[in-house]
Symmetry: C2
DNA sequence: GGGGCGCTTTGATCGAAATCAACCGTGCAA
DNA sequence: TTGCACGGTTGATTTCGATCAAAGCGCCCC
């Protein structure tokens, strides 16, 4: 199995999710609440709600890709490591995002929770059949896949050509924008990831990330109540820094 | 128009292509030769064969994405630049690859030829309609898109976490494998791209790329007849170098 | 032939970020 | 309460690749 030992199906906790499952429409964690019961019956009947604690694997690179997930709460990191342990994080997934959608026979990267997280899980075969019957949903997924590629290329530009300051500023702005889009904007922005995960995303070391946070703080560009609570004080400046000005 | 001034429709030169167009099946540059005339009539009737000289733009980031291309001969680079000119090349396209497939309303990157190149061009609307009628082709494209994403992530790992030697070794092996897959393997491997383009792909400078080529040559790992003709002498060693051993 | 241009190579030096090394604060378990 | 593990910050030093500089080599055009 790809989900960790402590993940539970149909967990007994209840409550609103950060985002309803975009496939089966579930709005609460343990209740099936599809938008269109007739069409989606075969799919949601088999959908399973899962939740994980912080720092648990959802799946690992190379495992057979038997499931597709729709994240409804929490944050998940996609990454891949070299044999000697050097790790590159590709991105941080937010509620509403799909996990494992692009996989062929096997998952191409590791997926790990960065916080408590919840997701709807679908069997790949069931999911594919559902897409065949629902071209509108399928079209939406094609768009989502294109946007993943666009994001990956943006990230390639960051890793290949930006300085350390530009990388960290870009990371902060990007996270802020994506959180804002999904109405998850909190003030201050709370970061579930550690300095080590930010370093592995930006292609830097934890020391460099820490120093740059310090510099941004002393400049007055951001405020740090603690290491995880970032308040952007000067967005325009942060934007300039992310593009190589200053 | 996105194609350059010197591109010509239905060019009068003839001859076998490196790869037949994977959509309309054209095997020669100026002759429509579809695999299944009945089904594909609406598409191939409007397909246009183009060719470009070296270093010509196919399209630029931000332009309205009106066309989809299938490269049949030559090589094209996808890239994106920062305001100050720093450029990141995302990949090198070979015959058989699609160009501009993942674009939404506008192209997300610059596409430029690295050599003389030929392609079949389709109107996006026509192409989309064709895909709706040919789900098998559409499925193939979904797989192609997934593999683009996998490749982009491999490249993120290269840019974020590999050393200069590892990057150049990975670049050479990757190009070699992809050329081999498509029966374009030449011995020695001939590189249509300059040191500057290799640098922009690997996130290095031309001087560093040149020095590493020199080092690989003096080690006996590769042989360089001239700057563009690379013969891999010790593939196993190159593989080890690309992964951090040695 | 010669001169200039674009690309590559090679050498010397510099600098941004990595590495090495303490040290701090917090939370947790003995 | 102590001790320790973990994450974060900060300082000293090193290093890898960038930058600066110069020269070599086709290649094309005059």
């Amino acid at each position: 199995m790809t989900t960790s030992a402590s993940s539970r199906d149909h967990c007994s906790r209840r409550g609103d999710l950060a985002a309803p499952c975009s496939v089966c429409g579930a709005k609460e964690f343990n209740i099936c609440q599809p938008l269109d019961p007739a069409r989606q019956a075969s799919l949601y009947a088999r959908a399973v709600r899962l939740h994980w604690a912080r720092r648990e694997p959802v799946f690992a690179a190379g495992q057979p890709a038997r499931h597709v997930y729709n994240l409804t709460e929490g944050m998940v990191a996609l990454s891949r490591s070299l044999a000697d342990g050097r790790r590159q994080i590709f991105g941080f997934l937010l509620p509403g995002d799909f996990i494992g959608l692009e996989a062929g026979d096997a998952y191409g990267c590791d997926a790990e929770t960065l916080s408590d997280a919840k997701a709807c899980r679908f069997d790949r075969a069931t999911f594919d059949a559902f897409l065949r019957d629902n071209p509108d949903v399928a079209l939406g997924l094609v768009r989502a896949a294109s946007s993943d590629l666009a994001q990956a290329r943006q990230h390639e530009l960051l890793l290949g050509r930006k300085t350390a300051v530009e990388r960290v500023a870009s990371f902060l702005l990007d996270l802020r924008n994506r959180a804002g889009e999904r109405h998850l904007r909190t003030q201050p922005l709370s970061l579930p990831m550690t300095r080590s995960e930010i370093a592995d995303y930006t292609g830097l070391t934890i020391e460099t990330v820490s120093r740059i946070f310090g510099r941004l703080k002393s400049q007055g560009t951001i405020d740090l109540a603690d290491a995880t609570a970032v308040r952007v004080l000067d967005e325009a400046r942060l934007k300039r820094l992310s593009e190589g000005a200053d």
